[in-house]
């Protein structure tokens, strides 16, 4: 599917892929929400993400608010997706 997770201690890496449109985002949200303590840090690996919807943008923002700055980040987005976060004013969520 569009999500594969990998845990190392307090860090979980969510490898996301494909088109994260509204329908996919709705399906992913409960799965992401299930990742609870002891997880303190979350890395959304975006290297395979081709499209992101407003719904997924909101999921990212929610996680960022929950975990706090420095504990949630998006890594390796493709340039098109990096630009989406820039335009949305959410560049602080992106690492690299």
């Amino acid at each position: 599917m569009n999500l594969r997770t990998e845990s190392t201690g307090e860090l979980v890496v969510c490898h996301l892929s494909g088109r994260l449109d509204t329908i996919v985002s709705l399906a992913l949200e409960p799965k992401i929400d299930q990742i609870t303590p002891p997880v303190k840090q979350m890395d959304f690996d975006f290297s395979e993400v081709d499209y992101i919807s407003s719904s997924f943008l909101r999921i990212c923002l929610k996680k960022f608010k929950e975990l706090g700055e420095g504990n949630f980040w998006i890594s390796s987005p493709k340039p098109d997706i990096k630009k989406v976060f820039k335009i949305a004013g959410l560049e602080k969520l992106v690492k690299g």
């Binding site: 992101i52 407003s54 943008l57 098109d80 989406v84 335009i87 949305a88």
Partner: protein, 477 residues
């Protein structure tokens, strides 16, 4: 303003900002699919929305509002459908310039009471075609029909996979909320249609704005014109939607030589010429001395209602009230813009006098907007046009339908008509999707041959003056 209201507006704008970000990923095909779905939904609802608008605002005629909705959807769509608005839109090998169209970001669209649903539909279509989210701030007296138009469009847009929140609206918003939104950093542009105060607020907000100016359209029936045709076109135009379009004729100027014939033809076509007492009575109901502008009570009202408000008895079948006047300016209220079936009428001694009167009318509150002439004399048409300060000079056509484009000419169909710098606008264009794009230019090396041939050494010689430099620069060119 209360904190919770500010929060609501901030949230609205945040959603629009997210929508702008998402929209940035769409290609031309996806964009066009959304525009097509929205135009179809608007066109399918043309009658219902027109009836809602007429009912809610108590202005105009629903049948004419249907026509305005057609302009705003079908004609606008036909104009937009083949336009490139995404990514690379032009490549010129010779100049080495490649143009890239980028969306501008969230747009605030302020829509008027006079053309509420058509302006809403129009602004939404041009915003979506340029991949920009839009927030509609409707006139409070037309909030329900405008919001319904926006809702229909949003539903259709989502069905074509548009970004969430690409169309939003301020429900029953106050002027204060709109002002607050105008000033926000995240807002990219204001498309302001409304009164002078509102447009001024938009321009003063610090956010780029495309506003409109007020109209005070002079129409000159020059003596070479086909008089019955000209009168027919003028009356159709001036009475369209009971005169709510800002490009509708406000004052007719004719040369003395043909004044009798024009009057006779107008009477035959249902115009009622007011005597001085009747003119005064109409002025009292049509003009608000306090605000020094037309009274909102008569805007878009049928001629019979205005006559009874003024206590006049007019013949059955009257189409238009005509006020013969001499003065132009503040001392003559009916020489100003009146968005109702009331027309000022001036007799001029000759062609030059007619032009002088048209200049005065044009500069009396209608600068930069539209001017109209009926004539078969090419030289006189040009002379008139150069003397006018108007973004559009419409020739031998109804002004209100002519200025909005597409139907009578090849102007771009638009419900936002730029009035140039004298109308405090940045452009005289009919506003369309192309004004809602940032055009980036990739430029490739194309060395300037004359500059290379001349070199720079000559410039260090102080004795080489401008004449010599110009000659050398263009040598053998």
């Amino acid at each position: 303003m209360e904190e919770n209201k500010k929060r609501d507006i901030d949230e609205l704008l945040e959603k629009a900002t997210f929508a702008a970000a998402i929209f940035n990923q769409y290609d031309q095909e996806q964009t066009d699919r959304i525009v097509r779905a929205v135009y179809k939904a608007g066109l399918n609802n043309r009658v219902r929305l027109a009836k809602m608008a007429a009912e809610e605002t108590q202005m105009g005629k629903w049948e004419d509002k249907v026509k305005k909705n057609i302009v705003a959807t079908q004609y606008v769509y036909e104009n937009l459908k083949n336009q490139k608005t995404v990514g690379i839109i032009s490549e010129n090998e010779q100049t080495g310039i490649v143009e890239i169209a980028q969306p501008i970001g969230p747009i605030l669209a302020v829509t008027p009471v006079t053309n509420p649903t058509s302006t809403t539909l129009f602004k939404i279509l041009i915003a979506l075609k340029s991949r920009n989210p839009i927030i509609i701030s409707p006139h409070r007296r037309a909030a329900n029909c405008s919001i319904e138009a926006a809702r229909i469009c949003y539903e259709a847009a989502l069905s074509a996979d548009a970004p969430e929140d690409c169309i939003q609206w301020i429900s029953h918003g106050s002027r204060e909320e709109t002002q607050y939104l105008m000033q926000q950093e995240k807002l990219a542009l204001i498309l302001a249609t409304g009164g002078a105060g509102l447009v001024h607020e938009a321009y003063s907000s610090g956010t780029p704005a495309l506003g409109v100016g007020a109209g005070n359209v002079p129409v000159f029936i020059e003596k070479s014109a086909d008089i019955p045709f000209a009168v027919d076109q003028l009356i159709r135009s001036k009475t369209f939607d009971n005169g709510t379009i800002c490009a509708s004729e406000q004052a007719l100027v004719v040369e003395k030589e043909i004044a009798g014939m024009v009057k006779e033809e107008m009477k035959q076509q249902g115009a009622y010429f007011l005597n001085p007492e009747e003119t005064e009575a109409v002025e009292k109901v049509a003009w608000s001395a306090g605000s020094q502008s037309m009274s909102p009570d008569i805007v878009g009202q049928p001629v019979g209602k205005i006559a009874s408000m003024a206590g006049l008895h007019i013949p059955e079948g009257t189409t238009l009230l005509v006020a013969p006047l001499e003065k132009i300016g503040k001392e003559e209220p009916l020489s100003s813009e009146i968005l109702a079936p009331i027309l000022a009428f001036y007799e001029a001694a000759d062609f030059d006098d007619a032009i002088r009167k048209c200049i005065d009318l044009n500069y009396h509150g209608g600068i930069g907007h539209t001017a109209s002439i009926f004539s078969s004399d090419e030289e006189k048409i040009k002379k008139f046009s150069i003397m006018m300060n108007a973004g559009r000079i419409v020739v031998n056509m109804p002004s209100s339908q002519g200025a909005v484009g597409f139907m009578y000419n090849t102007l771009e169909p638009s419900l936002t008509l730029g009035c140039g710098t004298y109308g405090k606008n940045i452009t005289t264009d009919n506003i369309s999707a192309r004004h809602l794009l940032n055009i980036q230019r990739i430029t490739r090396r194309r060395m300037n041959e004359r500059m290379v041939n001349l070199g720079f050494d000559i410039y260090f010689d102080e004795a080489a003056d401008a004449d010599k430099l110009e000659k050398e620069f263009n040598k053998n060119y």
